[in-house]
């Protein structure tokens, strides 16, 4: 009827349409001593898309993510961010470029509360020096309030209001994963790397996490790169999928295409299930 809202362009189903490549990985190779973790891998990540990296255990998924996040420096290959070639990536640089991440084994700040963890994620938006903080000068107070507001927004978004002041180590696994997502969101990232966000979760928790991932993408337009071991879940939520096996890329494309890729079926689906 008449009430098509102007906020949604008819015919386009996304609030943030998929754009051009934001991150391009070109011929990346990574070795640990003699072990080839990644061999000559190239793919790109487009703005606002949900990009999944899948593959069996030991396929090099986490290494790939660590290369993007600057924790590992590949021996060969280049990474381009918005067309600009990056050399010598460090975690700090990655963070400043707008890359945030979660970890496979939850890496929360265990003795801090949920709220503090998320506020800690605001690192890049706090500029007050320790002296300003110690003396409660205006900038420190203002930033603290801003951090809190943003953190509360995320807390509401992730529906974790009732645990806001709970120490994270006391939370069940699934909630910790959610808090970690919240901490990454607090950095207002352009690209969010999720390392097995659904590992170790039950069906219900997985559904919740899928919903949050999609909501983040929908609400903030964040580009998502996620690693998942379980193929089924990923296929539903990702726009494009990269398949790795033994450090090599064996498939790349939309889920349906990848699902029917023979190499993928042989190397991955046949093995893992």
């Amino acid at each position: 009827m008449n009430a098509v809202t102007e906020s949604h362009v008819p015919g386009v189903e996304r609030a943030f349409p998929i754009g051009g490549p934001i991150l391009q990985l070109d011929a990346i190779s990574l070795r640990f001593g003699g072990v080839h973790a990644l061999t000559n891998i190239s793919f790109d990540i487009r703005e606002h898309e949900v990009r999944a990296i899948i593959g069996p255990n030991g396929a090099g998924k986490s290494s790939m993510l660590n290369v993007i996040g600057g924790l590992y420096t590949p021996q060969e290959g280049t990474i381009r961010f918005r067309g600009e070639t990056l050399s010598n990536m460090t975690p700090g640089k990655a963070a400043r470029m707008g890359i945030a991440r979660t970890f496979q084994n939850i890496a929360l700040f265990k003795r801090m509360t949920v709220l503090e963890n998320i506020m800690a994620g605001r690192r890049l938006f706090t500029h007050a020096s320790f002296l300003e903080v110690a003396l409660q000068l205006p900038r420190a107070r203002r930033e603290e309030l801003e951090s809190r507001e943003k953190a509360e927004e995320i807390i509401e978004f992730l529906e974790i209001q009732q645990i806001r002041k709970t120490q994270v180590s006391r939370l069940p696994y699934g909630l910790q994963k959610r808090v970690e997502l919240g901490r990454a969101l607090a950095a207002e990232p352009q690209i969010l790397l999720l390392d097995e966000p659904m590992a170790g979760m039950n069906v219900e928790e997985k559904q919740d996490m899928c919903r949050f991932i999609l909501d983040v993408n929908d609400h903030y337009g964040t580009t998502m790169v996620l690693i998942e071991h379980d193929m089924g879940v990923v296929m539903d939520i990702s726009d494009r999928v990269v398949v790795l096996d033994y450090g090599k890329k064996i498939g790349d494309g939309p889920p349906d295409e990848v699902r029917n890729n023979k190499d993928v079926i042989d190397a991955y689906l046949g093995v893992a299930h």
């Binding site: 975690p91 945030a100 890496a107 320790f130 903080v133 507001e149 950095a187």
Partner: protein, 355 residues
């Protein structure tokens, strides 16, 4: 029971994030501060002021420094006494060499000197952690004391090597009676504790704790481990330096390197562990426990046995009991005295419930 929380709600974050969000806590603090500033100086005996309260406040500051480094930033350090010595000698030199310098200024500058030294000795923290770091910091402890001891300049070539602390003079007014010195120490302690609380609960404290709990994640968030750790070392050393200067000037009244030996470093470590890692108030409790328990045990045993039992035996017994208390403490409340207090507060808030 004490707390009445019904009907206290917050309508903005500033209310929720203030130092003491609970009205009852603010009243309690007000009462404590009022007593500390307005009642104790006029009612407490000289013994209490100069032998209990002053050293307790000084060592609380040091423990606070140690706690910032160890409890908040997670960097195990054993150099507190070294930084105290640096602060004490720096303060003496400022006072000695610059006539007009008011005591608080000298103390502040001494803290800065200690902080600078702390940064240097904090450098190993980038490579090592845990016990390894603790032992590495022991080097600073020994080295600082050795340098001060060895080079006469620090003592202005005093023949005895033990120098007498100067009288505390602030803009012409001298603070020499126990009550006056107590007020000086108290004021500095209160101000620095307030600052520490602000840091601990603010972004600075979160950064420290992030490095402590999960450094990789902290780095990925864009936190520089180098800066954060060195900042913690510097601030921690500042507190130790200030505490050391006050300790020498208001309690020992003499400045000698041997007073800042490794045992003192260990005692500061105990204070933090007993008081509660990662809590500001715990530093005060811990300092009180480690400093005062032996004193009270000593008084108690002398009162109990009088001269009937060999004093050597009672002294040894004191040590045993002190040790047993520490063990029991660790078994029943490993998170320290601050946790006990927190539990008590929680219980008061939930009274008549326990949980």
């Amino acid at each position: 029971m004490y707390y009445r929380q019904a009907g206290t709600y917050r309508t903005d974050y500033a209310q929720d994030m203030r130092l003491l969000p609970l009205k009852e806590d603010r009243i309690l603090l007000g009462v404590v501060l009022l007593a500390a500033f307005a009642v104790i100086p006029f009612t407490a005996s000289d013994y209490w002021l100069s032998a209990i309260l002053i050293p307790w406040l000084c060592l609380s500051l040091v423990a606070l420094g140690q706690n910032i480094l160890m409890g908040y930033a997670g960097q195990l350090s054993l150099g507190a006494a070294g930084f105290m010595a640096a602060g004490a000698f720096a303060c003496w030199n400022f006072m000695h060499r610059v006539d007009w310098m008011p005591f608080p200024v000298a103390v502040f500058l001494s803290g800065l000197i200690a902080a600078a030294i702390g940064i240097v000795f904090g450098l190993p923290s980038l490579r090592v952690r845990g016990l390894y770091l603790a032992v590495a910091t022991l080097a600073s402890q020994f080295f600082i004391v050795w340098v001060i001891d060895k080079f006469g300049w620090f003592k202005d070539y005093d023949s005895s090597g033990i120098i007498t602390a100067k009288d505390i003079v602030i803009f012409g007014k001298s603070f020499t009676s126990p009550a006056e010195m107590y007020l000086v120490v108290l004021t500095i302690t209160v101000v620095l504790t307030w600052a520490a609380m602000n840091m601990a609960r603010g972004s600075v404290g979160r950064n420290w704790q992030a490095v402590r709990d999960m450094d990789v994640a902290a780095e990925v968030m864009g936190l520089s481990l180098l800066r954060t750790k060195l900042q913690a070392f510097a601030i921690s050393s500042f507190y130790c330096g200030v505490g050391g200067a006050l300790f020498a000037f208001t309690y020992l009244k003499s400045v000698e390197p041997a007073a800042f030996d490794i045992n003192l470093s260990f005692r500061v470590l105990f204070m933090v562990l007993i008081g509660g890692l990662g809590t500001i108030i715990g530093s005060f409790y811990g300092a009180g426990f480690i400093l005062l328990l032996p004193v009270f045990l000593n008084i108690f045993f002398h009162a109990l046995f009088g001269k009937a039992v060999d004093a050597t035996i009672t002294s040894a017994l004191e040590q045993v009991i002190f040790g047993v208390m520490i063990i029991l403490f660790m078994i029943y409340e490993p998170l320290g005295l601050a946790k006990l207090w927190q539990n008590f507060q929680e219980r008061m808030r939930r009274w008549p419930f326990k949980f």
